[in-house]
């Protein structure tokens, strides 16, 4: 059977590979594509420039030109027209360490260094393992020794002395290090075949997610002592810590569950076929994959946990935010609260922004599918 000559045709060509055509670069091209690409955006750009021109000079004048940078005399500040950054140098010890004994502040510095150091270490993917988690637990023990004292010739300092950035960081690290395993167990439990475990986990997650953190903290600090016999009093910091951990754990559990659900059924089956038990399968196959998927989402919750530590100032703990409020009770310096709070704002921003940037980096890295 012969077919008629088709109308369809194609050309066979062999040509060398070459680089793509060059893109237009330069300031003018950038401005045109990014700021003036159409009428609305041009108007918005001009409005934004106008707003900056109106506000920026005044701010720079207040914050830099007329500002007082260093003085121990608040009257100098009162005489000046600009900001009084001197309040920070004057009060930084109280703001950063609260009521912790003045001579023992080096212990607080060590705590801060340990937390930041280990966080940076943890940021590298090649160190990710269950051992890293063990490292955090060891770090927690060292931090507790440093903060409680009473051993190795350290002066004893109870939790009522704790305050400032070390307290903020301890609450934060405690929340995450304690809350993550809880989240994993809750998420696994929620998918369990055993009805009792399953409903326990669901109840736990839903009840905790159903109330605001602040009420959980109030429960822990005010109502809990009413129900529990006096001999059983649990430390106030510990109570706040447990409340924050539960709260973080319940939220993170739902994120981890999302990761578990994203693992294809074939992974479970391959592990079963190879004879792995439930826990071997979970530990070696499922969790490493599921946790990697949810890292960006978890980072979001971790950042929130960091910011949530400020709530403890409401129940009378002096985290860095509460300690600043205390520092500003000094009538000589009370006028300069905005400057002090701007410093605290910057402090929180540095922590949270670096975590957010890191999360972005991890997300991009995972999207590339390297090692995966």
């Amino acid at each position: 059977m012969s077919r008629p000559q088709p109308i369809s045709s194609a050309l066979a060509v062999s040509g060398p590979r070459r680089p793509p055509p060059e893109r237009v670069t330069g300031i003018v091209a950038w401005l045109r594509t990014n700021l003036f690409n159409n009428m609305q955006n041009s108007v918005m750009t001009l409005l934004a420039v106008w707003a900056l021109l109106v506000t920026l000079p005044g701010f720079v004048n207040w914050a830099v030109i007329e500002a007082v940078w260093i003085t121990d005399d608040s009257r100098v500040c009162r005489a000046a027209a600009g900001a009084c950054w001197a309040v920070i140098t004057e009060k930084h010890r109280v703001m950063l360490f609260g009521t912790f004994p003045y001579d023992e502040h080096w212990r607080g510095v060590l705590v801060i260094a340990i937390v930041i150091g280990l966080s940076i270490f943890s940021a590298f993917k090649r160190f990710w393992s269950y051992w890293l988690f063990a490292g955090w637990i060891v770090a927690m023990v060292i931090i507790l020794v440093l903060q409680l004292g009473g051993v190795f010739g350290l002066k004893e300092t109870g939790t009522h002395d704790w305050g400032g950035l070390p307290l903020t960081l301890i609450l934060f690290v405690g929340t995450v290090v304690g809350g993550l395993p809880m989240a994993v167990f809750l998420a696994l439990g929620r998918r369990s075949d055993l009805p009792v475990i399953k409903s326990l986990c669901i109840g736990m997650i839903e009840i905790t997610r159903g109330v605001p953190l602040i009420t959980v903290l109030f429960m822990a600090s005010l109502m809990f002592p009413l129900f529990v016999p006096e001999e059983l009093t649990i430390d106030k910091v510990l109570r706040a810590q447990i409340a924050m951990m539960l709260f973080f754990g319940a939220y993170a559990a739902e994120i981890v569950r999302g990761g578990l659900q994203a693992i294809p059924r074939g992974q479970y089956e391959a592990a079963d076929a190879a004879g792995l038990t439930y826990w071997q399968k979970t530990r070696k196959i499922i969790l490493p994959q599921a946790l990697r998927i949810v890292i960006p989402a978890l980072m979001n919750d971790i950042i929130r946990a960091f910011k949530n530590t400020t709530f403890v100032s409401i129940i009378g703990l002096f985290d860095v935010f509460g300690a600043t409020a205390t520092a500003l009770e000094d009538p000589l310096w009370v006028l300069y609260a905005p400057e002090a709070y701007m410093f605290i704002f910057l402090l929180y921003f540095c922590f949270c922004f670096s975590m957010a940037k890191y999360s972005e980096h991890i997300e991009r890295d995972l999207a590339k599918g390297r090692n995966f």
């Binding site: 294809p264 592990a271 079963d272």
Partner: protein, 261 residues
């Protein structure tokens, strides 16, 4: 229920040590759906069975019952003398002697090729790491990709991944290998490299149950052909008879459909 087909009485194989897989009157339901209806199969050591049939015929469910990825509700399944029940220890024993290769490879993407191979032997069976690694490299040699040992599955082609999966299943020196449509997810150019490995394995004497529609492969290695439809074994016959002289019209229709083009 099997009174209607007296000639399909299962062979008496209970005590025969040459039998490694035995299904007797096996039934299974997915909710109300009767997915396996009175399955009877006996597989002798070193022999190869190829199972074919349209999708939804229950062939995949059937071989997944062998290592208890699916649980049968009625009837008896005996693997190498061990009857499959809810007893987890027996299931683990059976899984140790049964290797499985999946349609979608199911390699562990977060582990390197060599770790994919050594994971189960090292963590489940306590084989020393260097011994497991040695065996893994040997097997990768055998499936002709020793140079990929340190890569991750995502860096390999489909054909390479499936060969890694075969090597992984061989790590525990299984007595039976199950293949669940091992080439269905592969590009045509890669099917041959996987089939070659399977043929080599068959020639080395491995006992195999293979679900495939690669009829060239089936003709070459199968001792017994099984055709399933709607949860039943419609026809089971030695390979030559199956292809040249099938009994049932359903089998003839199926064969004519997959053998044209």
């Amino acid at each position: 229920m099997d009174d209607a087909m007296p000639e399909n009485q299962p062979p008496q194989a209970e005590t025969d040590t040459n039998v490694i897989v035995e299904f007797r009157h096996v039934h299974k339901w997915f909710d109300d759906f009767h997915v396996l209806r009175d399955i009877n199969i006996v597989l002798g050591r070193g022999e190869k069975v190829v199972v074919c049939g349209p999708s939804g015929s229950g062939k995949s469910t059937m071989i997944r019952c062998i290592n208890r990825l699916e649980k049968h509700q009625e009837g008896t399944i005996i693997i190498d003398g061990t009857e499959l029940t809810d007893d987890m220890r027996k299931i683990e024993e059976v899984r140790r002697s049964v290797g499985m290769v999946f349609q979608s490879f199911n390699l562990f993407p977060h582990l390197s090729v060599i770790e994919n191979l050594t994971m189960a032997p090292v963590y489940v069976h306590g084989i020393p790491e260097d011994e497991a690694e040695g065996r893994a490299l040997e097997l990768l040699e055998r499936v002709k990709i020793p140079e990929q040992a340190w890569k991750y599955p995502g860096q390999l082609s489909g054909g390479q991944q499936q060969r890694v999966a075969i090597a992984r299943a061989l790590m525990l020196q299984p007595k039976v290998m199950l293949f669940d449509e091992p080439t269905s997810a592969l590009d045509p150019e890669m099917i041959t490299e996987v089939l070659d490995v399977m043929i080599e394995l068959a020639e080395a004497g491995m006992t195999m149950i293979v679900i495939t529609h690669e009829m060239g492969f089936a003709r070459k290695v199968a001792d017994l052909m099984v055709f399933m439809d709607e949860g039943q074994i419609v026809e089971a016959a030695p390979t030559d008879i199956f292809f040249d002289n099938p009994e049932s019209d359903r089998t003839k229709l199926f064969l004519s459909q997959i053998l044209t083009h």
